[in-house]
């Protein structure tokens, strides 16, 4: 296990460098003049230009720029926006909001997806099964912004059950609708994986043995069946948390949540290159670490899987 972990962590290093370099190059180097359109119609004053050139080593090659950026990053310095606000500050204020939304979305999709999956897996080919199959198909096919707008229009505007947008306090009740929207597609995948897994294990020998021993059905399903069927579901949930923490750019935009996804979109549009790179680096690290964690979790949950 220790050696496996070490190897995986070592493999992360080139991936991390490659991904962040790609982003750095795309944001800083490809568009040409980094000052174009930054200071309005007049163009940037020379001393500002000189200061930024010095700060970000813009007169040197992209490799030097990237290396010095990384050096600062590992000392905990994310740099600052063009107006001087530290980027770590932006991340610190918006990341908790994204986390809250991600956790709510994950809870909703786990409860609904698992419930639907277990029910349909135990009774296949009934009315409920077909209903769930069709609705998962719909949830997978609907792009997030369509679900978001339709639900916002019905629940928020027409029926007035919830507030259409989320206030800055991020109350839990306000987050239910955005959480549902964000988790909708994964909910469908979880329901399907759980259904297949339960249906497969339902025919396993150990389940037959448990029933033959005379155990009540609740115990057979709750203890024997669920434990063995949940492994793929748990890994799916873990991967999903990694993706959700990468920021829900669309959902945060629709419901007006001040999360990391909205910050990164805003800084891309306003060409805050340093902010874009800073946030993307954080997101990529989170994403990579979550994927690693899921792989480790997989081994911890299923004793049949051993990493040498």
């Amino acid at each position: 296990m220790g050696r496996y972990l070490l190897r995986r962590l070592l493999q992360l290093v080139p991936v991390f460098i490659g991904t962040t370099f790609l982003i750095y190059w795309l944001v800083w180097s490809v568009p040409g003049d980094p000052f174009a359109g930054k200071c309005g119609d007049r163009g940037c004053p020379d001393n500002y230009r000189a200061m930024m050139t010095e700060k970000y080593h813009l007169d040197q090659s992209i490799w030097v720029q990237y290396a010095s950026y990384m050096k600062n990053l590992f000392q905990g310095d994310f740099g600052s926006t063009f107006s001087g606000r530290p980027i770590s500050d932006i991340i610190a204020t918006s990341y908790p909001n994204t986390l809250k939304l991600a956790v709510v979305a994950l809870a909703i999709e786990a409860v609904i997806g698992l419930g639907a999956g277990v029910l349909t897996g135990l009774r296949r080919n009934g009315f409920l099964d077909n209903l769930v199959l069709v609705s998962t198909l719909f949830l997978i096919a609907l792009p997030v912004f369509v679900i978001g707008f339709v639900l916002q229009w019905f629940f928020g505007v027409k029926w007035g059950i919830v507030t259409p947008t989320v206030s800055s306090e991020m109350r839990f009740t306000e987050l239910i609708l955005p959480g549902f929207v964000l988790g909708s597609a994964s909910m469908a995948y979880i329901a399907r994986v759980a259904r297949t897994s339960i249906a497969e294990n339902r025919r396993a020998d150990y389940v037959r043995t448990a029933i033959a021993k005379g155990l009540p059905m609740r115990r057979v399903v709750g203890v024997h069946l669920l434990r063995n069927s949940l492994i793929p579901v748990v890994t799916l949930l873990g991967t999903d948390l990694g993706a959700l923490m990468g920021g829900a750019i669309v959902t945060e935009g629709i419901f007006g949540i001040n999360g990391i996804g909205r910050q990164v979109l805003r800084s891309i549009v306003t060409k805050e290159s340093a902010t874009v790179v800073g946030i993307v680096v954080v997101l990529v690290v989170v994403y990579l670490l979550m994927n690693l964690l899921v792989d480790l979790l997989y081994a911890a949950l299923d004793p049949r899987i051993r990493y040498e």
Partner: protein, 323 residues
């Protein structure tokens, strides 16, 4: 099942299978029936009995015809509008009403199919070609080639999809850029392809790894077949099934992805007509005229759904365990 030839074909395997090794001296007709069907042939037989397949396939044909010849469906003007018609509700004259610029929403919805379908199909083909080739090389060669290609794939895989395409598109297609309609489309296709090929590569690599050591490959090599022949004649046909399924579903998700990018204002831009752009324009008017949002969204969902559904039926048909 009304087709008699289909019914007879379906029942043949059970009758013919035991006699497969029988007398080969029969004339042509027997030869023809004895010819074993491949996985794809079997899947096709299975598919044509499914109503879901025909429903989704006919929807797809409809959308493709719509993309190729939009003037068959509408005589309206999708680009120019009359301001006097601004926000007129749906009526018998204009079925879907008019948008804020007084443009015919029905005509725009029909013309919007082209951008979505073209972008989705081309990016799927690109993704399958690049990912498939990389996966084939990585799986077949193994060793350091495999390690190198896998790490490169990891780099692109590490970028979250929406985030990555936003960065790529704003870099090459920012607010100041003055790109033509086709350049923008090519950029969207490129960014979708660049960010999704690793998944196809992993699929291809794992199925090549699983097939590479099979007896028939070893036999082919022992008979002196070259690398090219082994790859194209033996490996490729046997590794194609998962790619086909994934590709069909991918078309659907790319239609959605294109709409999402256009919706965020960084994909296709306004002289181009696309469902994503229409939805993005409608979002500020959602309280006044929800129909502006409803019609393009319904077409978008129908298109995505029919491709995803087709992929599902193809997957079931290709999976021998479910037969």
């Amino acid at each position: 099942m009304s087709d008699p030839s289909a019914a007879s074909l379906v029942s043949t395997p059970r009758i013919e299978a035991p006699t497969e090794s029988g007398s080969p001296t029969n004339p042509e007709s027997a030869q023809k029936q004895q010819q074993p069907r491949g996985l794809l042939g079997d899947a096709w037989l299975d598919l044509r009995r499914k109503p879901l397949f025909w429903i989704s396939a006919s929807f797809i044909v409809l959308f493709v015809v719509m993309a190729a010849f939009p003037s068959l469906f509408t005589s309206g003007d999708a680009v120019n509008g009359e301001l006097s018609h601004s926000l007129v509700k749906p009526s018998s004259e204009a079925w879907f009403g008019y948008d804020q610029q007084g443009r015919d929403v029905f005509a725009r919805t029909i013309y919007g199919a082209r951008a979505s379908i073209v972008v989705a199909l081309l990016s799927t083909i690109g993704t399958l070609l690049i990912g498939g080739a990389m996966g084939m090389i990585a799986g077949y060669r193994g060793g350091w080639v495999d390690a190198l290609l896998s790490r490169i794939a990891d780099i692109f895989f590490g970028l979250p999809f929406v985030l990555g395409s936003i960065v790529i598109l704003t870099t090459f297609n920012g607010s100041g850029a003055d790109n033509s309609e086709w350049t923008i489309m090519a950029l969207v296709i490129m960014s979708l392809t660049v960010l999704s090929w690793p998944v196809v590569m992993r699929l291809m690599r794992s199925s090549v790894l699983a097939t590479k050591e099979a007896d028939y490959i070893v036999a082919a090599r022992a008979l002196g077949a070259g690398t090219g022949r082994i790859i194209f004649k033996h490996l490729l046909p046997n590794c194609l099934a998962p790619l086909l399924v994934y590709g069909t579903i991918m078309v659907g998700s790319f239609i959605g992805a294109e709409a999402t990018l256009s919706f965020l204002g960084i994909g296709l831009k306004t002289p181009v007509v696309s469902w994503g752009i229409m939805i993005s324009e409608a979002q500020n008017l959602i309280r006044v005229s929800p129909y502006l949002l409803f019609f393009p969204a319904a077409f978008l969902v129908a298109a995505v759904l029919s491709f995803v559904m087709l992929g599902e039926t193809v997957r079931e048909a290709l999976d021998p365990k479910l037969r």
